[in-house]
């Protein structure tokens, strides 16, 4: 089958990757057992590929559930919000296709041209999401007390807060720490 670069097409490719990895690891297990290994030893020897197969299955589930739940739940949302949420779905799917490009080359029918296209699309999506980035994180609706962060407060006074927090260091309670008289001064006067 030719590569399908749509969101659904890429998710389908992740399923193909999972199918291939699972079928391949079953074959590996069977070959190990045929070579005389016990089922337990065969399992241990194939375990790196077994975890990879599970991860591929999990990745296919994560991607397809994210897409299908968003389709289902976002249907009632306003068009501007739905648009940005679907951009995020697209970004997520594209990001993981590029992260797993080795698997795609090995098990799906992606070509180098398709990869170029995915990369272009990814950069375009970053630009499309950029204007809404702060709005998207504001929507998580964390109060400042919950974020508990000098850098992330709603008002953006990051430098002021960093300085205020620095002043809370117990070392700033006095201009000269007692270790100067006790250790540093005798040490420095010792003229190394």
């Amino acid at each position: 089958k030719a590569w399908d670069g749509s969101i659904d097409g890429i998710i389908q490719s992740f399923k193909v990757v999972a199918i291939r990895k699972i079928s391949s690891v079953v074959k590996i297990l069977q070959d190990y057992e045929k070579s005389g290994l016990s089922p337990e030893d065969a399992w241990n020897k194939a375990s790196v590929f077994l975890t990879a197969a599970s991860e591929a299955h999990g990745r296919a589930v994560l991607l397809s559930v994210y897409k299908s739940e968003m389709d289902k739940r976002a249907a009632v949302l306003s068009p501007p919000l739905r648009k940005v949420l679907l951009q995020l779905v697209d970004l997520y799917v594209t990001y993981w296709a590029l992260e797993k490009v080795g698997d795609m080359l090995l098990y799906a029918s992606i070509t180098d041209k398709d990869v170029d296209e995915l990369q272009r699309r990814y950069i375009e999506l970053l630009a499309a999401i950029r204007p809404n980035a702060v709005g998207l994180v504001d929507a998580f609706d964390f109060r400042d007390e919950i974020l508990n962060s000098t850098l992330g407060a709603y008002d953006g006074r990051a430098y002021e807060r960093l300085m205020e927090e620095a002043m809370k260091s117990p070392l700033n309670a006095e201009p000269v720490n007692q270790t100067f008289h006790k250790y540093l001064k005798p040490f420095m006067r010792g003229k190394l």
């Binding site: 999972a18 375990s47 599970s54 589930v61 559930v65 949302l77 929507a139 850098l151 992330g152």
Partner: protein, 469 residues
Amino acid sequence: VNVDLQRERAKCNFNVEELTNFLDWGVKYTEKRRNLEQKVLSIKGLLDDTPEEYLSHKEKYENAIRKSVLFYKTLHSTEDENMSIDEKTKLNFRNIVTSAIFKDNSPFMLHNSMFIPTIMGQGTDEQREYWMKRAKNMEIIGTYAQTELGHGTFIRGLETQATYDPDTEEFVLHSPVLSSYKWWPGGLAHTANYCIVMARLYIKGKSHGIHPFMVQIRDEETHMPLPGIKLGEIGAKLGFNTVNNGFLGFENHRISRDRMLMKNAQVLKDGTFVAGSNSKLTYGTMVYVRVLIVSNMANMLAKAVTIAVRYSAIRRQSQPKPDEPEPQILDYVTQQHKLFIAIASSHAFYMNAMWLWEIYYSVSLQLASGKLDNLPELHALACCLKPLSTIDATAMIEKCRLACGGHGYMLSANLAQTYGLATAAYTYEGENTVLLLQAARSLVKAWVGHVKGRPLKGTMAYLAGESTV
């Protein structure tokens, strides 16, 4: 408000409140969550004046206990008893008000997240009625001890013994070797006075597998450890330092027969063992917690990316074009590459967690009526989604820290502590590699069955598409 942030908010082209409601499972839950946050955060003394980082290990614990008591008094007074489990879970999906009070989590954490759910899931009606009342009123504080020094996720390897003595109708709890000491449970060290202990049941020399036991570990008046019980704290860790993780060993400590949680298997007075309908039911609590971990990861990642995106909007750096001001670092594509995937991933985890909760809720209703068909698939799903969500969240929170440069390294940025909490989830409730291997077992079984012509169900149904690929 910083002018750059003001400008960013002005150009946002969707309704932020609408998205908040969407993530909260509806307007109703946004309102409930905000009311709860307002109530809790208006209590004096709950937020620290002195940063926790400057306290000693012991002071951190003492401060955390002081705040936990204040916090739970507030929670108790606001709790709506009429809410169903489904409604409570939906409200709690995005309720992380505790993180305002405890940067490194509460010593009562396990009381709510493991102790109470285990009583609910593993106790008989009579046991539930008695213990739930005490636990909910905080007459007792409990935790859940499964992991041992020598064994974690491999439950069948647990060595703690519960030997039934039919003469006295008691179980004798014993830790035969050092590796059998319980190790890690939150609150176990100095906070809890009761503990659900997973131990291997022996009757007349025969092993009957691992079962849960309600064990009193400290005197209710003096809080001293009971005779035959060795307790302590396991020491400083990468994170979770106010959770009071502890160790527990037994020296032939006796508990009455009714202290075994007997919903799924029973020991009669004469020592007859009555097996449950399905031994897998014992692991129900772990599946439930793994479902919640996916939503926890969504929250932690959302927190980290909120910090990093806001900082990236106000931070200006370098001068790529002469005679122009330093750009906001959020305009650098490398920065967008680090951060926007974290926003999308958090949404992906929320959607998956909502979906998984709906499956869990319907499977738990089926279980109540004795239908077990969908339990293996739910188990396999939780075994995949828990590892992937914790792996991704941990890596992306670290990216958020890196996106904030040196300032992100400050503890006051709260990215390091968030990473500490997320990476702990990589290990607890089933170490990720072990869980992936458990999921692999289900997948291999399903695949081999499919090749032999057996039908594939649910989320594994797509495997049947091989012939069309």
